[in-house]
Symmetry: C2
DNA sequence: ACAAAAGTGTTAATCTTACACCCATGT
DNA sequence: ACATGGGTGTAAGATTAACACTTTTGT
């Protein structure tokens, strides 16, 4: 039995990075093809003998040189038949987090340029990529409240104030520092190091790190990670 | 620029129904093709000029004659290159809820047979469909606690005890009837009718119905739907 | 009168919120 | 000494959890 079908499968990756109190999205400008000189998400067609995950990782490597901390499938876009003007493409979008301080972007094989853009100040992007980014941002916001994925946007060792700011920034909320600290520490999933941050002013602050195995135990014991920030940002 | 790719796109639907305190999954047995005489999820290949949603709805119609109350994309399965032994297939799985008391299944065009199976007593199913069903069940369990999708498994007018049982059954938890009722009513999203159920024994019970526009208002006002059942089932 | 399911309130415990002052460092 | 950000506790209010008896109907 032969199936006639003329639809291509692509993957796209929405990569978030966090730096200087700003949430950024990684965009690339391609050298070749239909996307020449347009900003777009990292992505491309899936090879016949390659899993979807492998395809995303390959594109991330080829187009940005980045190694992500977190990667999950976001959504498959296939309800707009003409999203790509060339032919029909169904795109499986992935959602990735990276500690962006660690990386210098190197536009590799296929990309002329790769750059971070603040989520609140994106350039025009190709196809329906703006819509994909919006969905990814919503997922990030909601997932941040019930999974400890914020740590994947921070360096391995971080200041409490960085974690606070990350939550404030991404959730667009104010925060009560005391309550936030109490709540986070109550989970017992982050621990002090004996090192201190090197901020220029103010009292030196301890560096903390996320303990993933304690988190796994916490979950196995039937507890729930949950961080709600209730006040609205001015 | 021509893209060489030899991957087919399919959709599959996991349809849940609820009846007699049992959560059921809809499976079909196909007349033709590789799946002949095996139980499988409703599904098939996407046509070139058809959205993914249209494809699911078409397959649901062709293979079961069911009209669902709720439909959302679940996950795209494309990491097992050999999940279909014939050729590579990437399948976009959808998750659907139906008030199964309303329907008599009619195996239509493509299906020899269509039947409900209790989630805890499934027959062997084709391909990786067992895995897909497991994922869908997890999604149902978690979504039930934060979205009012339980109503999509019940008749339009239902007894409070039916709603209670639905939550107990699907979440595999015990329940405190008083606390559950208080919590659900506190949201103000369901309302009494002046009708009564027709159980054979016991005191007659009022029928209730879900008011979707009140729910939308509730959400717009910034409230959160949340139902947790804490005690474990014996 | 009994069996079966429906309906209903109170209290203790827990969790959440609001709130402000002192501390350690660099300049 | 002052500016900067770090670190900390308590009390009021809200939410959740535990718990059992009365009501209405059919038989």
């Amino acid at each position: 039995m032969e199936i006639q079908q003329n639809i291509k499968i692509a993957v796209d990756a929405i990569v978030f990075g966090y730096n200087d109190n700003t949430l950024n999205v990684l965009l690339i400008k391609q050298k070749f093809g239909a996307l020449k000189n347009q900003w777009a998400l990292v992505g491309g067609f899936v090879h016949d003998q390659e899993t979807l995950h492998d395809a995303v990782n390959r594109e991330l490597k080829e187009e940005s040189g980045i190694k992500v901390n977190y990667l999950e499938q976001l959504y498959t876009f296939g309800d707009d038949i003409d999203r790509d003007p060339r032919f029909r493409v169904v795109s499986v979008a992935y959602f990735a987090l990276v500690n962006s301080t660690k990386f210098t972007l190197k536009a590799d094989t296929d990309a002329e340029d790769a750059q971070w853009f603040p989520i609140n100040n994106l350039p025009p992007v190709a196809f329906d990529h703006a819509q994909i980014i919006t969905l990814a941002y919503q997922r990030l916001q909601s997932k941040l409240t019930y999974k400890p994925i914020g740590f994947d946007l921070l360096p391995r060792e971080f200041l409490f104030s960085e974690l606070e700011n990350l939550y404030c920034t991404i959730l667009e909320k104010d925060i009560d520092r005391r309550n936030f600290r109490k709540k986070v520490l109550s989970f017992g999933i982050i621990e002090e190091t004996d090192k201190f941050g090197n901020k220029k002013s103010g009292r030196p602050a301890k560096l903390y790190k996320f303990n993933r195995s304690k988190y796994n135990q916490f979950i196995k014991d039937g507890f729930h990670f949950q961080i709600k920030l209730d006040k609205k940002k001015k």
